[in-house]
Symmetry: C2
Subunit: 209 residues, 2 copies
């Protein structure tokens, strides 16, 4: 199968925490959830991809929901940690924004599947109480970015004629949707794309001569 290499590779990377088999199955499930969608992926699909039968999955997990839950929590925990660190260490708003963008692209190496799932399935999963933390994470995220934008605006670094809320959504969409086409094995490194995005965001596409 086309994704097998990737799944196995990321499995190796994750195998230091928790039971190896568990992490392996999560990597496989995550890849399927990300590419086909959560609802479109059956537990039989996951089992097939893992080379076992569907019933055997329930030895490791309560339900399909538990699997996606675990995948999302791991990613969001790491993401919150990253955001806090950037806010602590950044010297000025522009540098902080640039760093957040760079880190977001960087996260695609390890959490590409989780990011795609978060993007694509939050709307559906958010409807269940169990996944209430998804909306919380989105709000955390919004607070981080808008506070930086407002700081920069007050400091005269960012334009004053732009609505911070519109600008925030602009940036958020810009960063996260890249997960749909970003290919970690392609020509463009995550950093190269991030730099171009930062360029466009800060200075626009219009020539200055």
């Amino acid at each position: 199968m086309f994704w097998e290499d990737g799944a196995v590779a990321s499995t190796k990377r994750l195998s230091n925490r928790g039971s190896g088999r568990r992490a392996e199955l999560l990597a496989i499930a995550g890849e399927l959830f990300a590419t086909r969608g959560f609802l479109a992926t059956t537990v039989r699909d996951i089992a097939d991809a893992a080379g076992i039968l569907s019933g055997s999955l329930y030895h490791h997990f309560d339900s399909k929901e538990s699997m996606v839950d675990e995948i999302l929590r791991e990613f969001l925990d790491a993401q919150r940690e990253t955001n806090e660190q950037v806010l602590r260490e950044a010297s000025d708003p522009r540098a902080a924004i640039a760093e957040l963008i760079r880190r977001s692209f960087g996260a695609m190496r390890r959490y590409r599947a989780a990011i795609a799932i978060f993007q694509n399935e939050s709307n559906y999963l958010g409807g269940f109480e169990r996944f209430g933390y998804l909306q919380q994470a989105a709000e955390d995220f919004e607070r981080t970015w808008t506070s930086l934008l407002q700081d920069g605006r007050r400091a005269g670094v960012f334009r004053e004629d732009l609505d911070p809320k519109v600008t925030y959504r602009f940036m958020r969409d810009m960063v996260w949707t890249a997960v749909h086409w970003y290919d970690p094995r392609g020509n463009l490194t995550a950093d190269a794309i991030a730099d171009q995005y930062i360029e466009i965001l800060c200075d626009g596409i219009v020539s200055r001569e």
Copy 2:
């Protein structure tokens, strides 16, 4: 139900073409597909929302797939027409890009549900032969925008240090993802958001003083 007003209103607008009932049911189905997702919406959901029983839907449509097919085709036909018109009439690349962005936001009035479905479900639906036109539409779209970007680059209007492909994806994502949060009844008109997006895209968020 919270969306009922919207569905009924857009039904009125569409009732001039085709059987009234058919268009009405499509508007209801489209709203559900857009907000809950295609797979998460059952034919019973659609029938409930329409105040009839699920079996009755099959008097109007072959299948759930036929419904989403019809919704998507109508939107994509209109969109192709719009793109061609803009290309024909635009005076220069920058004006054309700005007009495309403005029209894309403008399309949200009439095709908000279809745009969301196209965004969210292309990945899944594109896997079926019947929906091969989805990928074609995406390619058409890419051709239109990248040709404009390259023209503008050659003419010295756009920066030469940006990869046109990266820039294209940046713009595409920027425009289409707004459908996730754009509220036609909110404070911001589609044109107001479009203008801010054009501003950011062309000149960036950094202050020029």
